[in-house]
Every structure is written in structure tokens, then in C-alpha cells.
Amino acid sequence: METIVKVENLIKYYGTKDNPVKAVDQIDLEIERGLFTVIAGRSGSGKSTLLHLMGGLDRPDSGKVYIGEQDIFELNRNELAKFRRRKIGFVFQDFNLIPSLTVWENIILPMGLEGKNIDKTAIEKLLSNVGLSDKKDMLPDTLSGGQKQRCAIARAMAANPAIILADEPTGNLDSQTGLEIVTLLKQSVKNYGQTLVMITHDKSIARIADSAIVIKDGKVVGRT
């Protein structure tokens, strides 16, 4: 299968100069297009740092991340921002919706920043898929946690990016809602032909993924 994400010798330190902590330690890995890949590991293992580096939200101390053919760290800040809004969708644990915008506006935000005209039919279909058709004109404050996360998923998928990176999207939800969200995510990316990379430490979720990467102390220690 075609590789969508390629990570080469990625290293990231945190902490002070005197006391550096290696969060990501010389990781090499490839993620295949169209699959649902889970990154698992204990708290502090470096899985979130790896995901953030893959999405260009953070910069590594060394190493490369390719999304498709593009080494994302070769891009300058503005180019990287534009690349992100076109190619990568993010879903975070705490939703990160913009509180002053309605559900609809949050979803079309990446396209708005791009200055693109939106395909209303496609967005309405997306809203319907995530079950928020009747909430489109509501502000995030009025939604439940599950509804917020559905909105965040719709936003991540709206610009039809090649890859969706989800950082523990079920972390703040009860297990039933969490499972619904993951199922929705998996179904959606399948429908739209996208790749999903998700961080989780929930084994039941890991079980429904196509592939799993296990991280420990900043290193890949297992792959299925």
C-alpha cells in the first residue's frame, strides 16, 4: 500500500538544557494511506509528541516527517500553516472549538482561512453524517461533550484533508460516547478515503483499528 506518512530518525527533547528529556527518540515509521492507525502507550511515553510532530504543530530537534512527498519541516511557518489547512485535519481531546463561532462556522473555518468558497451540500452532508444537522447554528457552549467532539471531527474532515490526526479524542468522553465517536471517525475516513492516526490508551478502541504502533520511552516498541 502507499505510504502517506513517513517519519525518519525523529528526535525531540523537552525540559531544560541541563536536564533534557528525550520525548521522541530516533523514531522511524511509515503509515499507510487509507488505514486507521492507532498510536498506543502509557502516559508520558511520547505518543502525543510524535503525533504533534507528524502534524507540524511542534518542531523536532532532528529528523524528518513526510506527508506524501512533502518534508513538512522544509516549509516555512506560513507554508506549513497553509499545508496543514489543506492536507491535515486535527481532532483534540478537549475539542478546541472556537467559542464565538457556531457549529457550522467552526466546521468551515479552515476553508474560510484559505479564502475558499464552501460546498454547502458537502458540509450539510458532513453535518448529517456526524449527527449535528439540527445544531448547525448553535454555539459550542450549548453542546454536550460528545456533540462538541462530533463538531471537531466534522471540522477536521471538512477540507477533505489526506490525513486526520486525533489526539485522544475520547479522553473526555464516557466509554459509550467514546466508542460512538471512534466508530464515526473510522466510518467517516473510510467514506472519504482518508487516513486516520489516533492516539489512545483504550484497548477496546485499539482493537478496532487497522494497525497499531506502541510507544515506550519515546521509541516504537511494537507494531501490529
Binding site: 478537549d94 472556537i98 464565538s100 463561532l101 457550522w104 482561512l113 457552549d141 461533550g145 460516547t177
Partner: protein, 822 residues
């Protein structure tokens, strides 16, 4: 150190950047409060010292007092020192200069600060004591024992008798204080001469006195009341009472001075309170989780209040003394610079300044400034303390994502039509709508100083030196006539005689017009009439048709055409004269007047007041068309009273010399020069502007802290949101534009508030100042320069702040910002 103090101290360190803003605001406020108090104290003490050193020290002065009443007044328990004065004559000298002859008792001499440098006071009828100034004016050098022949006119009431010659012997040389010695034109005569010249029954004296029963706590108001009450007891009309306000102000407490200082300090403190309150209000909302955690681990509401209180007071403890110290340095340097030019005068008044008093008042000013600054901080902290104590334990564990149930009950307000176009401007608009209370608070607090700037700038722009000079001189040069009544020695100055042989001839007008640099000459006519209602002679001015714009353009109330004024039965009255001289005359009222046309048959006339106008102060209060005065100006007489000369330029020394040369042989004519008045007022205005600019500049700086805080905290508070926007693809350029747009809306809101409320308030201030004759304000001028300066300052500041914030945001990675609240 207990735990509360330790937490407050650590918080101050942790939030040091934000605390720096509060510290600067406190520093500037305490600096300004101390400087106002200290400079006020020093200036006042210096002024009072010079008053006590040089000025007369009488407190009350009654006119037209008989010897009998004077005796009763002297016996009154309210009277301490007292003396009598009577002007008996004057000698007129060239260039409108005079020497005055007075009879004074020794006490009066003492209260007027005259001293006998040589000889003795005049005792016999032919003895006089003379000041150096009077001798200089008379062009003589004198020593005691010298004989001198003087020509003088005796004054009977307001009537001056014929000139008479008398030989005198100089019994003493008088000395006045340093400043006025050369200007004093006094000659003292003996009581014997007074009794020779006047029938003792007709003598009315002036009674000068100081009141008794004064102590340190006596106020100027109490002394004034005693003086007026004493006059009332002895049937002395209020118009005949004068108060030496300089002496009272220099030695007693004037409640009005405190009121003015209090008002200025209130303005400064208010700006400080709004700024500090706004900074704390924003900050406390950012720290809800932090306080929630403290509640969760067992801190009481009282302890939370104390943490907020101690944080604020800790900043004040450091910043306020620094502000006061800076104030002392500023004041010292300022005083040295101000006194550099007048060091000799300063040295002379120094003995009159009480150094211990000065030190005590400075300590008092410092303590008061500290007190006001701490009070200002306490007021600013009240609301944040209330917010802190209301925070519950749940706030600590509250996390937006943890709520599965809707946080806010669904209402129509939470529903709004979604837009299909998300632009930067849309994001900003929605953000500001969401935080509208804070946005409004920021705009209002930033506007508060701006509104004050508008009001002060309006006052400054309305006290235009040109307007002041226009008030005192209509035209670049103005020639007026010297008209007097009841001067036996100078009957030629009587109006009826002046118009018979008027030096303001058409020939003179043509000669002036022919002078190089003269563009035009406008002639005004006048008649003098007795107004029975006022028991006074009043000038009524006629405006020629070619200059009718002078009259018509100045009408402020009522309507009239120039044609309608030609009948002479309608007049336009100056609005200030209507209020002050005619005691609230109204448009539509009728004025009666009597004109003496010289034929011995006084002509009784009536004129309707058809309008009020705003005319130069130097002009009389009643105007009509020149044609309307024709019937009142006797046949073959020339009623010209003023020539206004208009030059090609504001001032030309050659033109002045030529006009002077034309009129120097005419003792009845006086020349007024616009440029002289302009330069004098310009110098006063410059001083006023500098003081106002320094004051408003510092006040503005306090409020700028507020703008910085709002924008910084807006970015700080939304770090996560901004990070998220960048995660979904917002570029740095778009971020910069967003911050700029946001700041721009604050600026627009602030400028709009400043201009609307500021203009309204400044117009109200202008109307009040004009109505009360404050600072000679007459024409409203919008303070455009001040608005430009404010707008440019705010815009530049906003651009710099946006750039700085956009840069500071870049220092952190996106993920760091997204994690900000996690």
C-alpha cells in the same frame, strides 16, 4: 511570613509582567498626585511669601466713610488695626501718567507697605512726603527740606477741579517695596492741607483695616463674612466694600483652593482606579481555576480576598514610594529651571518662606499621595476581591470537556444565523461580541482620559492669543479717544467738546490710509448718554454700513437686519454687558437714555434691545447702525470715536511709527497695537499649554497601560484559541491582521467615544467658560490638533502592540499554546 503573604508574594513574582503594568500605573498616579500637591504647595508658598513681602496687608477697605463712622468702626471689637485714606488731588503728566496726592494716617501708611526712608511725615499744610516713583515721574530729584512747586487738580468726588499751583517743602522720602518702588506715584499730604481743601463735613474717607480674633484655623470665608457683616452693621453698601483677597489667600485657608486640588486629584485617581480595576478584572477571570484549586484545598473566602488584596497592596508598596521619589526629583529640577531666570527675586522672598512649613507640607503631600494611591488601589481591588471570594471549589476541577450535559440552558440567544464566509474581520467581530463587557470597559476607560484631553484642549484652543488680542484691539492698530467727564482742568475731554473739535477727522483717516502697509481704516461713531437706570454715562457705538459685518456676524441671540437698526430705535447689546452692567437685560427689553447735545436741552430717547452679540471687550456694550446715531450727533459735529487700522501684515514697525507720528500731537488720541496684546497673551498661553500637556501626558500614560493590558491579556487569555486557529491553518500574517483588526476596533470605539462625549462635554465647558468670562474665552474652536495627536498616538501604539504580540505568540510552538489551559 504566613501562608497568605507567601502565596501573594509568589503570585506577584509569577505574574510579574502583568504586575509591571499595574506598577507603572500606580507609579504614574502617585507621581502625578504628589507633583500636583507639592508644586501646588511650593508655588502657593512662594506666591504667599511674595505677597507678604511686598503687597499691602489690609484685609478690608470701605469707601465713602465719614469720620464719625470711621470712629465707630475703629472701636468695633472686630477691628484690629485701622487707618484712613483720602485722595485729595492728582497731577496729570504726559503719556497718560499721573501722580496722586493722598492724606493717610500712619496706620494706613504702614498697611500699604510704605516706609519713611528719610525725614518725617507731613505735618503742616505745605509739607509733603514723596516716593521715588512720583519724583521720577515729575522729573525731579529730591531730598528732605527741598522746596518744590507742584501743579495739581483737587478731586471733589469724581469731579476734578481746575489746576492749581502750590509750593511745598519735602518733609520725607517714602520707600515702597522692591517691586513697586519705581512705579509708586504717591505723594502724601498733611491733614492740615486736607482740611484746607475740603469742608470737613464733606470729607468722606476710605477706611482700611485688619480684623481681630484671627487664628490659624480662620478661613478666608470667615474673614470675608466678618468684613461684610461689619459693613452691614454700619450701613456701608456692599459696592463700597473691597476685600484684599491676595492677603487673605496668602495667610488663611481658602476652601476653594482645596476644592480645585481635590478635583484634579480625583481625576487622576479615577483614571488610576479605572486602569488598575480593568487590569485586575481581566486577570481575576483568567485565574478562576487557580483560586478554585485554593478553595478546594481548604482556603476560606476571607483568605482568598486577602490574597488578592495583598497582591495589589504589595505592588503599591513598591510603586507608590518610587512615584513620589520621582515626583521630588521632578519638582526639584522643575523649580531650579523655573527660578534660574529670576534667582534674585527668589532670594529676596526666601526669608518669607517658612522652611519648616515647606518641609512639613512636603511630608504632608507625600503622606497624602501615599494615602490616596493606597485608597485608589483598594477601590480598584474591591470587585476583584468579591469575584475571588465567590469562586467555588468546583471551578478548580471544572473543565469544559468534562461536561457531557449542555453547560448553558439553551435559549434563543445561543442561536444565531451562521455565516458562510469566515474572514479575519468576522472572527474578530464575534470575539468582541462575546467579550462585550470587557471590550466596553476597556473602551470606556481608555476614553476617560481622552475626554478629559478634549475638554482641556478645547479650553486651550479657545484661549487663542489672537482672539484675546482681537478682544483688546480691533484691527492691527486701533486709535481711540480719551473722553472724560467732570475734569475741570481738561474740559476738552468732555464728549460734547471732543465732537466739536474731533481729532478723528476724515483728513486723518485719509492720511492713515495713505501709509504704506495700511490696507483699510474703519471708522466707528459713538455718542455718550446717561442711562438713568444705571446712574451712569454709557457709550453707544454706531457701526458704519461698510463695516456692518462687524455687527451682524457677532449676533448670538435675536435677529435684526442692518436696515432696521438705521432708525436708531433698535440696539444690539453685548451679551456680557447685558449680564454684568445691565443686570440680566433680555432681548425685547427697552433701554432709556438721555443725550446731552450741548444745547442745554437733554434729549430723552428709548431703544429696543433687538439682539445680543459677542463684541470685543474694549468696545462699549451698546451698538447700532451709524445712521441711527446721526440724529443724536449734533449738527456739524464729528462723532467718530474709533479708527480701526487694518495692515497688510499683523505687525510692521514702520507702519506703527508712521501712525504714531500722525497722532502724537493729538493728546486726545491713544494708539493700541494688536501685536503687543498678542505677544503678551501668547506667552501666557504657552505656559498654560505646557502645564496642561505634562499633566495630560502623564494621565494618558496611565490609561495607555490599560490598552496594553487589554491587548496583552486578550492574547494571553486566547492563547489556546489562537493556537487552535493556527493548527487549522491560520498563517502568521493572518494572525497579525487579526490582532491589528481587534486593536483597530478598540481604537475606533475609543475615538468615537472621545469625540462624541468629549465634544459634548467640551461645548458645555466652553459655554460655561464664555458665560463666566473665564480666560477670555469667546469663540468655540474644535481641538482638531489634540484629536489628531490622540488618534495618531493610539494608532501607532496599536500597530506596535499588534506587532509585538504577534512576535511574542511566535515564540511558542502551536502545541504549547494549545496546551495552555490543559
Amino acid at each position: 511570613m504566613n501562608m497568605i503573604q507567601r502565596i501573594a508574594k509568589q503570585n506577584r513574582k509569577y505574574y510579574r509582567k502583568r504586575n509591571l503594568l499595574i506598577g507603572i500605573a500606580v507609579f504614574l498616579a502617585s507621581f502625578l498626585i504628589f507633583t500636583i500637591l507639592a508644586i501646588g504647595v511650593v508655588f502657593q508658598q512662594e506666591q504667599y511669601a511674595s505677597i507678604n513681602a511686598y503687597n499691602p496687608n489690609w484685609q478690608g477697605w470701605y469707601k465713602n466713610v465719614t469720620k464719625e463712622i470711621a470712629g465707630q468702626l475703629a472701636d468695633s471689637p472686630d477691628t484690629a488695626e485701622c487707618g484712613l485714606l483720602k485722595q485729595i488731588a492728582f497731577t496729570e503728566l504726559p503719556d497718560t501718567k499721573y501722580v496722586h496726592y493722598y492724606y493717610m494716617t500712619d496706620e494706613t501708611v504702614d498697611m500699604l507697605r510704605l516706609k519713611l526712608a528719610q525725614g518725617h511725615m507731613p505735618e503742616s499744610e505745605n509739607e509733603i512726603a514723596i516716593t521715588a516713583g512720583a519724583a521720577k515721574r515729575l522729573g525731579i530729584s529730591v531730598k528732605t527740606g527741598d522746596s518744590i512747586s507742584l501743579s495739581y487738580q483737587v478731586l471733589h468726588g469724581e469731579k476734578a477741579g481746575h489746576s492749581q499751583q502750590k509750593d511745598f517743602v519735602i518733609s520725607g522720602i517714602l520707600k515702597n517695596n522692591h517691586d513697586l518702588d519705581s512705579e509708586d506715584n504717591t505723594i502724601l499730604v498733611s491733614e492740615q492741607l486736607l482740611e484746607t481743601e475740603f469742608n470737613s463735613k464733606e470729607i468722606s474717607y476710605e477706611f482700611l483695616f485688619r480684623i481681630s480674633r484671627q487664628n490659624a484655623s480662620t478661613s478666608t470665608v470667615q474673614i470675608e463674612n466678618t468684613i461684610y457683616n461689619l459693613a452691614k452693621e454700619h450701613q456701608i453698601p456692599e459696592d463700597d466694600v473691597s476685600i484684599n483677597s491676595y492677603n487673605l489667600a496668602a495667610n488663611y485657608t481658602d476652601p476653594n483652593v482645596f476644592l480645585i486640588i481635590f478635583a484634579i486629584i480625583c481625576v487622576v485617581a479615577l483614571a488610576g482606579v479605572i486602569t488598575i480595576y480593568s487590569i485586575y478584572y481581566v486577570r481575576i477571570n483568567e485565574r478562576i481555576q487557580e483560586f478554585g484549586r485554593l478553595r478546594a484545598i481548604g482556603m476560606t473566602t476571607k483568605e482568598l480576598r486577602r490574597i488578592v488584596f495583598k497582591e495589589g497592596i504589595g505592588i503599591t508598596t513598591k510603586a507608590a514610594p518610587l512615584g513620589i521619589f520621582a515626583g521630588i526629583i521632578f519638582e526639584t529640577i522643575g523649580m531650579l529651571v523655573l527660578h534660574a531666570k529670576s534667582w534674585d527675586i527668589f532670594r529676596e522672598i526666601l526669608p518669607w518662606i517658612s522652611v519648616p512649613n515647606l518641609v512639613i507640607s512636603h511630608i504632608g503631600a507625600a503622606v497624602l499621595s501615599l494615602g490616596i494611591t493606597f485608597l485608589m488601589m483598594y477601590i480598584s481591588l474591591r470587585k476583584p476581591m468579591r469575584i475571588a471570594e465567590k469562586i467555588t471549589e468546583m471551578e478548580a476541577i471544572h473543565y469544559p470537556a468534562s461536561n457531557d450535559k449542555p453547560k448553558i440552558i439553551l435559549s434563543d440567544k445561543k442561536l444565531r444565523k451562521s455565516s458562510n464566509r469566515i474572514r479575519i474581520s468576522y472572527l474578530v467581530k464575534n470575539h468582541m461580541k462575546r467579550s462585550k463587557v470587557r471590550s466596553l470597559l476597556t473602551i470606556l476607560s481608555m476614553s476617560a482620559t481622552g475626554i478629559l484631553v478634549m475638554v482641556v484642549a478645547t479650553v486651550i484652543s479657545c484661549t487663542d492669543a489672537k482672539l484675546y488680542a482681537d478682544d483688546l484691539c480691533h484691527g492691527q492698530y486701533m486709535i481711540t479717544e480719551r473722553i472724560e467727564f467732570d475734569n475741570a482742568e481738561h474740559p476738552e475731554r468732555e464728549w460734547k467738546n471732543v465732537i466739536e473739535n474731533n481729532p478723528l477727522t476724515n483728513d486723518l483717516l485719509q492720511k492713515i490710509k495713505a501709509i504704506e502697509g495700511v490696507k483699510d481704516v474703519t471708522a466707528f461713531d459713538s455718542i455718550f448718554a446717561e442711562i438713568p437706570e444705571l446712574s451712569d454715562i454709557y457709550e453707544i457705538m454706531g457701526v458704519p454700513e461698510e463695516n456692518k459685518a462687524f455687527l451682524m456676524d457677532r449676533i448670538t441671540q435675536g435677529t435684526v437686519t442692518y436696515e432696521a437698526l438705521k432708525s436708531g430705535e433698535r440696539v444690539v447689546v453685548d451679551e456680557r454687558a447685558a449680564r454684568w452692567s445691565f443686570h440680566n437685560l433680555k432681548v425685547g427689553d427697552t433701554i432709556s437714555y438721555v443725550v446731552d447735545q450741548g444745547d442745554g436741552l437733554p434729549l430723552m430717547k428709548k431703544a429696543k434691545v433687538v439682539a445680543f452679540g459677542d463684541f470685543p471687550i474694549l468696545f462699549p456694550g451698546i451698538f447700532t447702525a451709524s445712521e441711527g446715531l446721526k440724529n443724536l450727533c449734533p449738527d456739524n459735529a464729528n462723532c467718530h470715536s474709533v479708527y480701526s487700522v487694518w495692515g497688510d501684515e499683523d505687525y510692521n514697525i514702520e507702519t506703527e511709527k508712521r501712525i504714531k507720528a500722525l497722532i502724537e500731537q493729538e493728546p486726545l488720541l491713544s494708539l493700541h497695537i494688536w501685536q503687543e496684546n498678542y505677544e503678551s497673551e501668547q506667552s501666557t498661553d504657552r505656559g498654560l499649554t505646557i502645564i496642561c500637556c505634562i499633566f495630560l501626558g502623564i494621565l494618558g500614560s496611565i490609561c495607555i497601560m490599560n490598552m496594553i493590558n487589554t491587548m496583552v491579556s486578550s492574547v494571553q487569555q486566547r492563547k489556546k484559541e489562537i493556537g487552535m486557529l493556527q493548527a487549522v491553518g491560520m498563517t502568521d500574517k493572518q494572525l497579525f491582521h487579526m490582532l491589528q483588526f481587534e486593536g483597530g476596533l478598540y481604537i475606533l470605539g475609543t475615538l468615537f467615544t472621545i469625540i462624541t462625549i468629549g465634544t459634548w462635554l467640551s461645548i458645555r465647558t466652553f459655554i460655561w467658560a464664555k458665560g463666566n468670562g473665564i480666560l477670555g474665552i469667546r469663540i468655540y474652536r474644535f481641538p482638531l490638533t489634540a484629536v489628531y495627536i490622540m488618534a495618531i498616538t493610539l494608532i501607532v501604539l496599536e500597530i506596535l502592540l499588534s506587532a509585538f504580540l504577534a512576535r511574542s505568540v511566535k515564540k511558542e510552538t502551536i502545541i504549547d499554546r494549545i496546551r495552555f489551559y490543559q
